[in-house]
Amino acid sequence: MLDRLRFVPGRLLQAIPVLFGVTLIVFFMVHLLPGNPAVAILGQTATPERVAALSKQLGLDQPLWDQYLLFMKHLFQGNLGTSITYQRPVSELVFQDFPITLSLLLFALVLSLAISVPLAALAATAPGRGRDLGVRAFTLLGQGMPQFWVGIMLILLLAVKAGLFPVGGYGETWGEHWYYLFLPALTLAIAMCPTVIRSLRASTINVLGSDYVGTARSKGAAGAGLFRLHVLRNAAIPTVSIVGVNLGYLIGGTLVIEKVFAVPGLGSLMINAILARDFPTIQAVALFVALFVIVIGILTDVVYTAIDPRVDLSSKEFA
């Protein structure tokens, strides 16, 4: 199998120009924003002179290209820069907030699988009939609801009316963290489910109708054992890549959820940085997220390769 993982180094190399492109775009786009950190920092007493003086002190009056080169130079030295708003290393901020967002995503992933797998199985084993249509309705509903609205509804029903869960926040202890993350994770899971269910359902149907399952059946393996062993494993294959794409896409979606539930993760950090024009933080977080998305992509393909012996992503055709 290691042989079939030959594609990994190549992909890592390909990631470099992509990341470079990301830094370029973010840097220049973010500097197009009206206002700068000095404007954001100064309060009601802000005047054009004070803004200019503070901008100078913060090094913001240097030509843009010079600032970019300085940023890249620091990057190569492993320095993500210093947050202008907090006057602390950005890496400190990122490494504090990233685990929170990651926990949220993983929790959401687990929840979505816990919901999707049984539902997909229900649907696939009776295609076209009642429960299939029910599951399909559920997926359509899941796709049709704005994420932030789902969050607000869950807060309304489960926190305000039923009092079962806290209304937003993050808690203090490790146990509390998971308790506080349940509703936001559920909201994300509901957003993830539709694509996962559809993919799993479709590929399960295919596998159930395929030759080798028929062979296995005729050999006498029946019921739950058959399903778990052969079907799920093979049905999972296309789903793995769907999940991978989703995960990468969702890390951007956590931004809105973190706002609704007041979770102090990377999304909150990013949105606050944008509002405060904290350029170093915006750049670093964008880069970090891009890296994460790319790594998830590569990991997905590694898992894909591991599960499906037929796949060989190293061959030229798939470049």
Partner: protein, 292 residues
Amino acid sequence: MTTAVVRASRAMRRPVRSRALKPWYRNGTLVAGLVIVGLLVLVALLAPLLTPYDPIAQDLEHALASPSGAHWLGTDKYGRDVLTRLMYGARIDLRVGFLAVLIPFVVGSVLGALAGYFGGWFDTVVMRVVDVFFAFPFYVLVIVLVFVLGAGESSIYLAIATVSWVSYAKILRGELLVAKKQDWVIAARLGGMSHGRILLRHIAPNVLSQALIYAMSDIVMDIMAIVTLGYLGLGIAPPTAEWGSMILDGQEFITTQWQQATIPGLAVVVTSLGLSFLGDGLSDLLTPERRR
């Protein structure tokens, strides 16, 4: 991973039974979709006729009124009729949703098709650019762009267009990669047919259906994006009625008048359902048994 996704999405697309043999009006999902979307469009177009109220007329004496005979869904904090604003909101959200898809569809499809068909350095460049955009969290990019471009409808179109063309590019490229290997295409080239003719008259009609189907779900995503931008306070400026900003306005009263935040969300859900049915129905129609 590109190809893995394409393979996976192919697996998804294969219907259990071939429904293309049924006429369109017997296709339940398609009909349901047409009915729902049709009704919504009708309500949006005829809004001024359907309601006596002005969506931005304030009546501060009767603010935050509960649903009643005069105001079927109550009033908001400025005394404006919620049902009226819901109807006028449909105009904004539907219109922006449909229009926001056009540019990405055209630009993305063309770039993607050319990349897939001709390959070479053009393909590499386009795909690297696509990768860069894919690595970006969607909302971050849109938010920053809206900030940069300033408030207003055109900024929203531009922001969404800049970010969503990449999906079409990827789809079309994938389609073209396969299409160009078809026997008849190779034969046509050998026979001397120009690239242009092959692309426009023969390949295009076949591959565009995939992009069209994706476009339907893209409209849903665009409506989500606009509603989310409205919720974040970055959408169309007040006092224009729009579902996202209505949810934002209503959130303050979630513990007392929860319908203010809930109902505009339901409107979005119904719209998305209708469009999803439409997309699914279209998918059944346009993609009978596909090649493996």
